[in-house]
Structure formats: structure tokens, C-alpha cells
């Protein structure tokens, strides 16, 4: 475990924005502790058959690459230039207007000019110019062309793993240039020669073999779910079912596995279980498709497909009608924008229809998968849930839009509608920090590891600042987010920037407010804290 010494928040927040006197064209990276992630372990790479498995560290002088590494990367770039219009257009048309510069949370928190999305892109663009454009071949540095050297590769590694693929820059770019797309392809190129990080590769390998990132085997998954059912029974007096790998269920339910293991995600998971029980939906968990999250998104497009395939496959095997997905950020980018294209068509499924309300979810008629916030909002709208929002009165809630449901989906109103119905105190953060302009938690895209802690706190600075604002103004003490990585990473971020604020998922709040048939008088919330005393009330 890395032990990163962090300066106090007041110190870290003193960010210098003065660029180095020398330009960016000469590659220069310093692997300072706390700002980079450990290299992928050979075993993980071997499990999924990825190139060049070996022990190495970014701080080593020799990264032990294959002899023809340069050829491999350039050939990889050539192929991808032919396969992705996005890549070619984004490399060709940037005018360096600088509108994206201070939209990146890593730039705001670090002041490092190479964290301006435009410059992060130039790291790749300069090589593209050098080897794939006539102007670059003829005029070199004058047109911003650089040769691909080992130092450039190190720079790619450092900065492509200081991008959380949050897509905030693409909202502000007048041409819609999306740094996430460039980071994804940049990482793909690095992976061709075996450069990657363990916090991505290990979840990838585990997800491939056991079905989920955490590597939870089937029997342990069942144990965990039963354990949460016990907790729910203790709190509510109601025993909820735990249907697992059940053929004949109407709906397959897929969640991010982080919620099965880690506090505070487990309370959200309990919320799902209570809601699904109470709604009477005939659903099932799967131990095989026990992960909706997909770290393939942070590895390569091929890996997205390899890890995602199990969801449709399991839906088919179990014979369900449609699929329901839990609260997760990047998982929903994959489900919304990649799954149907890669592993569809899901013609063996039906257009999702809520058996409780009769609502036909036409907007998911091809992919056949809906988000649980859509499902719950629909239940509430039709008055199918009995809710007591006062049970969340201890919480003054603010809502963090997770990057992917925001900018790769547009899931803004459903969760807000749910929150307003299950809580009495809800306050929005400033408008430049929510919805499509939301700021990343600083730990997405595989960067939520401990050795990268300084960069996480820097990247999370804008989010931390916005939370502090509503904490001071309204006494907000709970940050709710629909993302498993958020629930893990924001918890640490809050401890650092706004220790008075706790983190939860949406369905934890739903679970608290849900009045279940046959329940006993509720005295505890899902965290087993006395109801309405669990959190300190800091308002006037």
C-alpha cells in the first residue's frame, strides 16, 4: 500500500498557473510520488492475453518494451486513424483556442499546462503530425511535429493516466473535440507494448474470469447478498428475496460489483434489494454477469467488448425479457453508447416494460436495458411506492452528477426527481459544477488508487470546493452520487476537502424512505445508525 504524504488542503489548493519557461515540445516528466499509478502486474496481463507481461515500474529507466516498440505504436496509430473518424478529425481540426484549458479538473487542481486538454491532445497530435502529415514531415517543429521517442511515451503514460475520460472539455470545445476519445486511443496504443496500470489491469483480469472487478466468486456473492438481506431484516423486519441465476425471471439486474463489497456502496445495494422486493419485480441477480462496470473502457475498445459480452449472453441464457442496471458511471457509458453496437442486436429480448406501472421504456427499445433511476422515477411518478422522506431528515443532500451518466447519457432529471421524493432537504451545487458541466471525482478511468493520491485530491479539488460551498451555505452533509467509483473515491476526497460531508448512493436514500409492507417501526437507517441522528446537523 502506498503511503503518500499529502500537504494540508490549504497548501494543496495554492496552485501555480505559471507555465514553465521552456516550451512543451521537449518531453519532460518527473514521476513524483502521489501523481502516478503502479504498472500492471504480469499475471493480470497473462490472464487476458495482453502483450508484454513483465514486472516493471514507471520510475525505472528501462521500461522493458519490445525492441520494435516504436513501429508497433505507429502501426497501431495508423490502423486507428483508419478505423475512427473521431480520431482523425480531432487530430486535424483543433485550433488551440484554449477554451478547454481550465475546464479540466486536473489542470485546475495542478496548474500543470500539460493537463490542459488541448496540450494533452497535442502530446499525441505532435506524433501524428510527424509521421502522418506532409507538413510535419517537411517542417517539423514549425508545425508542432515531434518524433516518437521513449520520453514521449513516458509523457503519454503520465498524462493519459492523468485524464479520467470525464469529457468535460468536450462540452466546451467549439468543435466537440473529446479528450476522452484521444485518451482511450492513447491508452490503447500504450497497451500494444504492455504499458498500463495495475488498477485497471487487475479489475480487467478479475472481471474476465470471475465476472466482476472485485473477483467475487459465485458463492461469496451469494453470501454477501444474503448478509445484506439479514441486515435489511434487522432494520426493517422484512425478509427480502435474493434471487440468483434464476431462469424464468423477467429481468436481469446488473450492478457495479463495488457496491457488493465496499462501504458506503453496500447501503445503496441494500436500497436496490428493498426497492426490487417491494416493487414485486420478478428479477434475478447473476453471478456470471456480476459486473456492469467495464474497465475495458480504460484499456481498449476490444476489451470493452470482451468484458461486456457476458451481459447479453447471461440475459439470453436466463431467458429474461429485459435488463435493469444499477448506479454506476462508466458502466452506463458502456451500456448506453457501446453495448448494443459491440454485442447486439439484443433481438432475443423485449422492449423494457415496467410490469408495475405498465410504462414502456421506448428510449431503450434497441438496447433493452434501463437505468434503475429511470425505473424508480417511473414507480414514484405513478404512485407505486410508499415513501417517508422524513426518514432522511438528518441529511442535507447535494447531488453529484457522475461524468458518464451526465455527458454520455444526459441522465439529469430522473435522479433529481427521486431525491426530491425521498428527501426533504436537497440543495444543488453551483451551476458550473453540475449537470453537463459536472466535475469529476478525480479518480475515474482507473485512477482511484492510493498511490495516485495527490493527483486524486488535486483532480477532485473543483468538486471538493463546490461541496464545501453548499456545506457552508446550506449545511449540506451528504453528497449523493450514482456511481460506484464515486462512492469509493469521493469518500476519500471528502475526508480531505470537506470532512463534514459523507457520501451515499441514490438508492440508499430510497431504501431509507421506502415504507415496506409488513415492516416494523424503523429506528435505524441503512447504516444502522439511529434514524435522524446519524449525521450531525450543522445548519443554523
Amino acid at each position: 500500500m502506498a503511503d503518500i504524504q499529502l500537504p494540508p488542503p490549504e497548501e494543496l489548493a495554492k496552485v501555480s498557473f505559471q507555465p514553465r519557461p521552456q516550451g512543451w515540445m521537449d518531453p519532460c516528466v518527473e514521476f513524483r510520488p502521489g501523481t502516478w499509478s503502479y504498472a500492471g502486474k504480469p499475471k493480470a496481463l497473462e490472464t487476458v492475453g495482453m502483450p508484454n507481461p513483465r514486472e516493471w515500474s514507471p520510475t525505472d529507466a528501462d521500461w522493458k518494451l519490445p525492441e520494435n516498440w516504436k513501429e508497433i505504436i505507429l502501426q497501431g496509430l495508423r490502423e486507428r486513424l483508419d478505423k475512427y473518424r473521431s480520431l482523425k478529425v480531432f487530430l486535424d481540426i483543433c485550433v488551440r483556442c484554449g477554451a478547454c484549458a481550465d475546464k479540466c479538473h486536473f489542470f485546475i487542481g495542478s496548474g500543470d499546462p500539460k493537463n490542459m486538454p488541448v496540450l494533452r491532445a497535442e502530446l499525441l497530435r505532435s506524433v501524428y503530425r510527424n509521421d502522418f502529415t506532409l507538413a510535419g514531415k517537411l517542417l517539423g517543429k514549425m508545425v508542432g511535429a515531434r518524433e516518437l521517442t521513449m520520453d514521449v511515451v513516458k509523457e503519454w503514460f503520465y498524462y493519459f493516466y492523468q485524464c479520467t475520460e470525464c469529457r468535460r472539455c468536450s462540452v466546451f470545445c467549439p468543435y466537440g473535440i473529446d479528450q476522452a476519445e484521444l485518451t482511450m486511443i492513447g491508452r490503447e496504443l500504450l497497451n500494444l507494448v504492455g504499458i498500463n496500470i495495475n488498477w485497471v489491469m487487475e479489475p480487467v483480469a478479475k472481471c474476465y474470469m470471475t465476472g466482476n472487478h472485485m473477483g467475487i466468486p459465485p458463492h461469496a456473492l451469494k453470501d454477501n447478498l444474503e448478509f445484506f438481506a439479514d441486515d435489511i431484516e434487522n432494520i426493517t423486519g422484512v425478509r427480502v428475496d435474493v434471487p440468483i441465476n434464476k431462469k424464468g425471471a423477467d429481468v436481469l439486474f446488473v450492478v457495479p460489483s463495488g457496491d457488493v463489497m465496499a462501504d458506503p456502496g453496500i447501503y445503496t445495494l441494500m436500497g436496490y434489494m428493498m426497492l426490487l422486493h417491494e416493487s414485486g419485480l420478478n428479477y434475478t441477480w447473476s453471478t456470471y454477469a456480476s459486473e456492469g462496470g467495464n474497465f475495458g473502457l480504460f484499456t481498449s475498445h476490444e476489451m470493452i467488448k470482451r468484458l461486456n459480452a457476458k451481459i447479453y449472453a447471461e440475459a439470453k441464457r436466463l431467458g429474461v425479457k429485459w435488463i435493469l442496471g444499477g448506479e454506476c458511471g462508466h458502466m452506463w457509458r458502456v451500456l448506453h453508447q457501446y453495448m448494443d453496437t459491440l454485442n447486439g442486436p439484443a433481438d432475443f429480448l423485449e422492449v423494457p416494460v415496467s410490469p408495475i406501472t405498465g410504462t414502456r421504456f421506448e428510449h431503450a427499445r434497441s438496447t433493452k436495458m434501463i437505468h434503475i433511476a429511470e425505473f424508480t422515477a417511473d414507480l414514484i411518478y405513478h404512485g407505486k411506492l410508499k415513501l417517508d422522506p422524513s426518514r432522511n431528515n438528518a441529511y442535507k443532500v447535494t447531488f453529484h452528477d457522475s461524468c458518464n451518466p451526465a455527458r454520455a447519457m444526459g441522465l439529469f432529471e430522473e435522479p433529481r426527481y427521486v431525491i426530491r421524493n425521498v428527501c426533504n432537504h436537497f440543495y444543488e451545487m453551483p451551476e458550473n459544477t453540475i449537470r453537463e458541466q459536472t466535475f469529476c471525482c478525480g479518480g475515474g478511468a482507473g485512477l482511484g488508487n492510493d498511490e495516485n493520491m495527490e493527483m486524486r485530491m488535486r483532480g477532485g479539488l473543483p468538486r471538493g470546493n463546490a461541496v464545501r460551498f453548499v456545506h457552508e451555505r446550506y449545511g449540506v452533509n451528504l453528497l449523493t452520487a450514482m456511481c460506484a467509483i464515486d462512492r469509493a473515491v469521493l469518500t476519500t476526497l471528502m475526508e480531505y476537502w470537506v470532512p463534514e460531508v459523507k457520501v451515499s448512493g441514490l438508492h440508499e436514500l430510497v431504501g431509507n424512505a421506502l415504507v415496506m409492507k409488513g415492516e416494523k417501526k424503523r429506528e435505524l437507517n441503512l447504516r444502522s445508525e439511529p434514524l435522524n441522528e446519524g449525521s450531525e446537523d450543522t445548519s443554523d
Binding site: 498557473f17 478529425v89 485550433v95 485546475i108 507538413a135 476519445e181 459465485p218 458463492h219 448494443d340 460551498f469
Partner: protein, 335 residues
């Protein structure tokens, strides 16, 4: 070097064309170079657009900037997160005509506070948006106005443009606002690059070059119209109509050196456009985060090169865990 080299480049172009005028290379500078530039421009635009259009968009990577279309009772954002083709057309037009995304621009600022971490504030920052709008639209008006040199008689619609553009008539010749706005906006964009440290840091020689070109074009244009360097417009018009009809006039008519400079810089700009970042003029239409329909769960997006991959099948999975699954009472396919 980053700033000086492109400046020297533009000055050299100007000097060479002025010298060309002095020694009477009218055919070269007024016929050959403009024709060549247009040819290079046209070929370049077609080549560039095809180079993008022939590449597939394997995934629907829309950037959603508004509420999705989902439940009937939730109002969706038809332009910021379009789920119809019409919405996408509207979205792209908003980008192209009004620079919608640039309009969102804000500037971050750390406000220091006593005994606490500083507060981050975001201020609306419309200057880049305004400067860019002024630059592009004044350029468009200037461009359209030049049609006067290519048509006889001057079309009515062009006269209306001129009337509006010459709104601030102060004596003769009529002052066209557009030329001055163009010069001012280009200068603003240049100063921005020079004075903001971050922007200066990211700027390449190829960012300054087109700005110097445009400033040179606007300056020479203004000099020709309003100052002692005035040019024989009848001769210019004669030349332009001749070029249009592929019957360039005999190279004897004397046109001022400054016209040579103007025309050469314009030719360079045309020839340069498709091969440089200026190709954003075409590229903005083809940006996949903006021109795809956001409703990717409603309609399947096809990837033409989607290929089969190795997966860990359920069968393999069950083979590895069957005993444990059975022991835990989890149903299995094969007993």
C-alpha cells in the same frame, strides 16, 4: 521564434509580391498564383473532407449536454441532447452559426479566504466567443462584398449587404464596418495568444501564421480603399471578371503593388486552408460528438468493423465454479 517566424513568412510573401509588381510580373501574381491557389484549395477541400468522410464512426460518442429523452413526463433537451435527426441538424447549426459550445465558456478563479482553502469561482467569459463571432462574421461579409468585383452589374442582394455594412456612412468612400471589425477581431485573437501565458504556451507557429495572413489581408484591403494607396478598382474588376471567364486581360494594365500583396496573401490563405487547422471550417460539420443522434439505446449504431473477440463463456465459468455453486445452492446448467 514561434511568433517571429510566421511574421517573417507573411512579410516575405508581401515583399515578394510587391517586388513582383515593381518588375511587372503581373501574369504571375495576378493570374497564375490566384488560379493555382484556387485549384489547390478546391482539391484540398475535397481531399480533406473525403479523408474524414470515408472513415467510419464506429461508436455513438455523442456528448450529451442536456436531459436525455426518456420518460414521457420529463422534458428532454432536443438541441443539447438530440434524439431526432432534426435535433441534430439544429445542434450542428447552432455550433456552426452561433458557436454554441464556445458560448458556455467560463473562467475559473481562486478567491483566497482567511484560514481556509481558497474558493473556486467561475466567471462567465464571453470574450473569446464574441471575438470569434466578430472575426468569422466580418470575414464572411467582407468575402461576400468582394463579389462586386466579379459581377457586372452588381446584384441587388449585394447592394443590400453593402448598404447595411456601410451603415456608418461618413463621407466618401462609404466606410464598410466589416473590414475594420475583421482587423480588430484578428488583432484581438493575436493579442490573446501573445498575452495570456497559458495560451502563449500552447501556441505554435502555425497558430500565428494565419492570423498574420488575415491581418495583412485586412490591412492591405483597408489601405487600398481608404488611403493614398487607393487602387484602380476598374482595373481590378476587369481582372477579376477576366479571371472568372478564364480570359484574363492582357498584363499591361497597371495595378498598384499593394493590390499584388493583397491578392497574394488571399491566395495563400485559400491554398493553406484545407491543409491546416483552418480545415475546422469543414471539420466542425463532421465532429462525432456533435453530429450523432444521442438516442443510442433507441437505435442501434452500427460499427462496420465490429469483429468477434475472445470471451470467457458461461460454460467455462460454470466449469470452474460448479462445485462451489452447487454447494451454495446456486442453480447450475450441468449437474
Amino acid at each position: 521564434m514561434t511568433v517571429v517566424a510566421p511574421l517573417i513568412g507573411v512579410l516575405a510573401l508581401a515583399a515578394v509580391s510587391a517586388a513582383g509588381a515593381r518588375i511587372g510580373l503581373t501574369t504571375l501574381f495576378c493570374v497564375v498564383i490566384p488560379y493555382a491557389a484556387i485549384l489547390v484549395f478546391l482539391i484540398g477541400v475535397v481531399w480533406r473532407v473525403l479523408s474524414w468522410a470515408r472513415r467510419p464512426t464506429p461508436f455513438n460518442i455523442t456528448t450529451t449536454c442536456g436531459q436525455q429523452h426518456s420518460l414521457r413526463w420529463i422534458q428532454s433537451s432536443p438541441l443539447e441532447n438530440p434524439h431526432t435527426r432534426l435535433g441534430v441538424i439544429g445542434r450542428v447549426l447552432l455550433e456552426v452559426l452561433l458557436f454554441r459550445s464556445l458560448f458556455r465558456n467560463v473562467k475559473h478563479e481562486f478567491v483566497s479566504r482567511e484560514n481556509a482553502a481558497p474558493r473556486l469561482a467561475y466567471k462567465a467569459s464571453p470574450w473569446l466567443w464574441l471575438g470569434a463571432l466578430a472575426f468569422h462574421y466580418s470575414f464572411l461579409v467582407v468575402f461576400v462584398r468582394h463579389y462586386r468585383f466579379f459581377s457586372e452589374p452588381t446584384p441587388r442582394s449585394l447592394q443590400i449587404v453593402e448598404m447595411l455594412d456601410g451603415f456608418f456612412q461618413i463621407g466618401s468612400p462609404t466606410i464598410f464596418v466589416s473590414g475594420f471589425v475583421l482587423l480588430a477581431a484578428a488583432t484581438f485573437l493575436l493579442l490573446r495568444r501573445l498575452l495570456l501565458p497559458q495560451l502563449r504556451y500552447i501556441s505554435l507557429p502555425v497558430d500565428y501564421f494565419p492570423l498574420f495572413l488575415v491581418i495583412g489581408i485586412a490591412l492591405t484591403g483597408i489601405l487600398m480603399r481608404y488611403t493614398a494607396f487607393r487602387t484602380d478598382t476598374a482595373a481590378v474588376k476587369n481582372l477579376c471578371i477576366g479571371l472568372m471567364q478564364f480570359k484574363p486581360p492582357a498584363a499591361t494594365e497597371p495595378i498598384g503593388a499593394i493590390f499584388f500583396v493583397h491578392l497574394t496573401l488571399v491566395s495563400c490563405l485559400f491554398a493553406y486552408l484545407p491543409y491546416s487547422k483552418l480545415s475546422h471550417m469543414m471539420g466542425v460539420w463532421l465532429s462525432p460528438t456533435r453530429n450523432l443522434i444521442g438516442a443510442s439505446r433507441m437505435r442501434r449504431h452500427i460499427n462496420p468493423w465490429n469483429y468477434p473477440v475472445a470471451v470467457h463463456t458461461y460454460e467455462e465459468y460454470e466449469n470452474e465454479w460448479r462445485d462451489k455453486m452447487k454447494a451454495a445452492g446456486i442453480p447450475v446448467d450441468k449437474e
